[in-house]
């Protein structure tokens, strides 16, 4: 099959403008068939908008995109037949049972009737919902709903599965199990997974990640390579007076530090060797020090100027979660 060699996702010069907002500002992207591709970025970076363009729900203002070898604007139905979708917002019918939701999906996608029932069982078993298939979705927990949506997204054997924050609002155990399904998927089927997340530990599960900020891709590589590129260790100290500590770091070492998550944080080339000097020369009493090798959090910080958790808080807006339901 010719389309196997084509990139799973191929994006060139993609731009999306909503009236005043420029959500996506020209991105290029190639996703290799069979990989798990992570898409990271703070709130409003344009991740969901990009996914909506790729799954033909939104038209791009400029640029081109191909999914599974088909152009999203010209071959809409061909793309739709080959992709599975789990949106950021829920899209289940809560009045129907889990199985009815899947049956609806199968019929809508025209899944071959001779294999439909077996396939339904397979995906429901995989996400551990087979025993609850006869219950109305209303009675499912948030994690169960998410798992059902993933099962549904897989029902028609898509070549590319788009997951927009599949683990948001879930407990750590459920999050881990969802990533377990994603790994299991690669073992079982020939599938490419395109996933957005806000959790850095989850991004480690990806073969490659792209970091998006304000509509642009600011970094794209394997997690390892991105961390290596940062090159510096992260030092986090707690002090009596964070303001004075920052000022002193600037005077004594010419280091720019900032407060993140209630502690002073900065990057140096060799953290372990730096600590003794820090105690000798900083004018402010230090309570604790920690030195870490670069993590994806640091990568994120370096490229977006904010840690993902600060970004998550979005200025401490408690309505952000509610808005998600829309």
């Amino acid at each position: 099959m010719g389309e196997q060699v084509a990139a799973a996702v191929r994006v060139r010069g993609l731009v999306k403008r909503y009236k005043e907002v420029e959500a996506v500002r020209g991105i290029d992207l190639d996703v290799v068939p069979g990989e798990t591709f992570g898409f990271l970025g703070p709130n409003g970076a344009g991740k969901s908008t990009t996914i909506k363009i790729l799954c033909t729900l939104v038209e791009a203002t400029e640029g081109t995109a191909q999914v599974a070898g088909f152009d999203v604007a010209r071959d809409r139905d061909a793309v739709r037949r080959r992709i599975g979708l789990v949106f950021q917002e829920p899209t289940l019918d809560a009045y129907l049972t889990g199985e009815q939701n899947l049956r609806f999906h199968g019929e809508l996608y025209g899944v071959d009737r001779s294999t439909a029932a077996a396939r339904r069982e397979e995906v429901l078993q995989m996400v551990g919902l087979w025993d609850r298939r006869r219950d109305a979705v209303q009675t499912y927990s948030g994690g169960m709903r998410r798992r059902l949506e993933i099962a549904r997204g897989l029902l028609h054997s898509p070549q590319v599965l788009f997951l927009d924050e599949p683990t948001i609002g879930l407990d750590p155990q459920t999050r881990a199990s969802i990533w377990e399904y994603i790994r299991e998927l690669h073992r079982r089927e020939d599938i490419t997974v395109f996933v957005t997340t806000h959790y850095m530990d989850e991004a480690e599960n990806c073969d490659r990640i792209a970091i998006m900020n304000e509509g642009r891709i600011v970094a794209l590589d394997t997690p390892e390579a991105l961390k290596r590129a940062i090159g510096k260790d992260r030092v986090v100290i707690t002090t009596d007076d964070d303001g004075a500590a920052i000022a002193s770091l600037r005077e004594q070492f010419e280091i720019e530090a900032a407060v993140h998550e209630g502690a002073v944080s900065f990057a140096v080339t060799d953290g372990a060797a730096f600590v003794p000097q820090l105690f000798a020369r900083l004018d402010v009493p230090i309570h604790s020090v920690s030195v870490t090798r670069p993590s994806l959090d640091d990568v994120f910080l370096a490229h977006t100027g904010t840690t993902i958790r600060d970004a998550e808080r979005g200025g401490g807006n408690p309505f952000a979660i509610m808005a998600r339901g829309r």
Binding site: K52, C55, T56, L57, V58, D77, A78, R80, R81, L85, F87, E89, P90, T91, L92, D93, A94, Y95, L96, Q100, R103, F104, H105, E107, L108, Y109, G110, V111, D112, T115, A116, A118, R119, E121, E122, Q125, M126, L155, H156, S157, R188, E189, D190
Partner: protein, 284 residues
């Protein structure tokens, strides 16, 4: 774990696939209808009140001029139409809920045409509304309408057609309103006038000219009148009663034939459905 299923196959479009999609959308409406008994019962209250309370109250006044036929008998086809009107309009508007709860997106990103999905919705809404009106049809005898099998079948057919049209109208409205809060005023604003300007609850012959124009552009007028004709054809009435209760629809001097009335409704179905498809296909 279960035996592994090789990747399932899905077709590259085609009429059969479209029909399957429309049919599963219809099935969903049926499932939801069967789960929602309370709504079925409550939506029968209004037509029953119209028929027996309004009809009963007015029949003593109206009796005077129209000896042989009770006002309730006149009202019967109109009340059938109103019950279908509200149920079908709600079935169409329910797309606003589907949007709110995200299910609309699940439907719109599938590799089928929007037309297939909306047709399934319309047939679903029409089925639900028609099923519901069967309860009222069973009451025919209590208001002096004979249980004539052919007449009942004709009425069911006409009710279904009208319900299809109104569901399509509901869908068109749903494509414009984006929130649940805005949906209810919309019903009041659009659906209630349709009812009053259709001849369902009183004969249109006595209205002033400018209102007559409105009744003539109201597609529901062309759905109610055939139902009334079908009922009155089975009654034993005199010409004067018929002239008062079932004057027909006149475009100028031309009395619109029953076939043409039905054609108007069919065209309205197609027009409204096409408009709704165009609007939903463009959302987001």
């Amino acid at each position: 774990m279960t035996t592994e299923v090789a990747a399932v196959r899905i077709p590259a479009g085609g009429l059969r696939h479209e029909l399957r999609a429309a049919s599963v959308v219809w099935q969903r409406e049926m499932i939801r209808f069967s789960r929602d008994r309370a709504r079925v019962v409550s939506s029968l209250v209004q037509p029953v009140l119209f028929l027996f309370v309004l009809g009963g109250g007015l029949s003593s006044i109206v009796q005077a001029g129209t000896g042989s036929v009770d006002f309730k008998t006149f009202l019967f086809p109109g009340v059938l139409a109103t019950s279908v009107l509200f149920t079908a309009a709600f079935a169409g508007i329910s797309m606003v809920w589907d949007r709110e709860f995200g299910f609309l997106r699940e439907m719109l990103v599938a590799p089928v045409s929007t037309a297939a999905i909306l047709t399934g919705k319309c047939v679903g809404g029409a089925t639900v509304a028609t099923l519901q009106s069967l309860v009222l049809l069973a009451l025919a005898g209590t208001v002096g309408v004979p249980y004539d099998v052919v007449m009942l079948l004709e009425l069911v057919g006409l009710l279904f057609l009208m319900a299809f049209m109104i569901t399509a109208l509901g869908l068109l409205l749903a494509s414009r309103v984006k929130t649940i809060q805005a949906a209810m005023p919309m019903v009041q604003l659009i659906i209630t006038p349709l009812m009053f300007l259709s001849g369902a609850l009183f004969p249109l012959s006595g209205l002033p000219g400018w209102l007559t124009v409105l009744t003539h552009v109201n597609p529901m007028t062309y759905a109610v009148e055939p139902m009334r004709s079908v009922v009155f054809a089975r009654l034993d009435t005199d010409a004067a009663t018929l002239a008062a209760f079932d004057p027909g629809i006149h475009w100028g001097d031309y009395r619109v034939s029953l076939g043409l009335q039905v054609l108007v409704v069919v065209l309205a179905c197609l027009l409204l459905l096409t408009a709704a498809v165009a609007r939903f296909a463009r959302t987001e």
